[in-house]
Homo-oligomer: 148 residues x 2
DNA sequence: CGCAGTCCCGACCGATATTCGGCCGCGTCC
DNA sequence: GGACGCGGCCGAATATCGGTCGGGACTGCG
């Protein structure tokens, strides 16, 4: 994990389909050396995988994206919650945060009924005491936009 | 955007570096037909780009991830805010949400001083009246994990 | 019917990925 | 010092891939 590795990570985050040859040119290595570093980082878990960013409008097609502020019950540990919430459908992200709530959970639901089910299961199965749900109306996300 | 396109998107989200030949095999097309569909979706904006998922621990290396609840000033329009906030450094995501605040902004900051600067600029340049910041302590995110 | 458009295929060729052997610098051990 | 193993890098050879071309099947339309 030297400076070169970090540079490679930055480039790969912008364009995961770049050829190893071009990658090597941009960091001053041969295609082989660049590919070796990428393979090593994949084996070591530094690189989790290569994924594709899809236009949310085309992807979800009417589904709901929600942010749920969650407060755990006193008898529920963070480990238990994190383990249980991972099993629920539509969970996109779970982050332990500062502030009056314990977690910020991001999820997708096909419709309000699915959201209702998700919230019920959060309370029943994941040890959630209180939740406050905000529905995403519009995503204005851009940076750090990957190369086209 | 038929069923085949959605199937291709799913596969690409799991492994953005798959070869067109393998992609074609998995959806029952030739490499050419599969590549054509990917190129078409790239041109149409359905595919925003290809990126690499990096282990947050190795990536940030001490940086802060924050969630900022934002309320706009009365004299600021949503369009103005979205346009201005995109220019600020470290902004990862901007979502218009329901609830007592207007937007949920996700951002990265190298240290508390950078976060201070970001919040000042939000109020000064982007028309933010009030903000409530929560710092991410730990990300317990998993699904939908891409293939290894 | 002719025609244009769309989607797909097979074949080709230049570019790329992967593997292999080899080189070099480094630290270890005797 | 000298031998050894290790990690990182390179160049060459071979397998694979990506982009392009020509062509076939199908559809809609005048």
């Amino acid at each position: 994990m030297d400076r070169l590795d970090r540079e490679i990570l930055g480039i790969l985050q912008q364009d995961a389909r770049i050829s190893y040859r071009d990658l090597g040119v941009r960091v001053g290595l041969s295609a082989n050396a660049a590919a070796d570093r990428v393979r090593r980082m994949r084996r070591d878990g530094v690189i989790r995988g290569f994924t594709t960013l899809v236009d949310p409008a085309a992807d979800s097609g009417g589904g709901l994206v929600v942010f749920i502020d969650v407060t755990l019950r006193l008898d529920t540990t963070n480990e238990e919650f994190e383990q249980q919430v991972a099993k629920l459908p539509g969970i996109t992200e779970v982050v332990h945060v500062t502030g009056e709530h314990d977690y910020l959970v991001r999820a997708r639901a096909a419709d309000p009924a699915a959201l209702d089910m998700l919230l019920r299961r959060l309370k029943r199965d994941a040890g959630v005491a209180q939740s406050s749900t905000r529905i995403a109306l519009r995503a204005a996300t851009r940076p750090p936009g990957p190369a086209s």
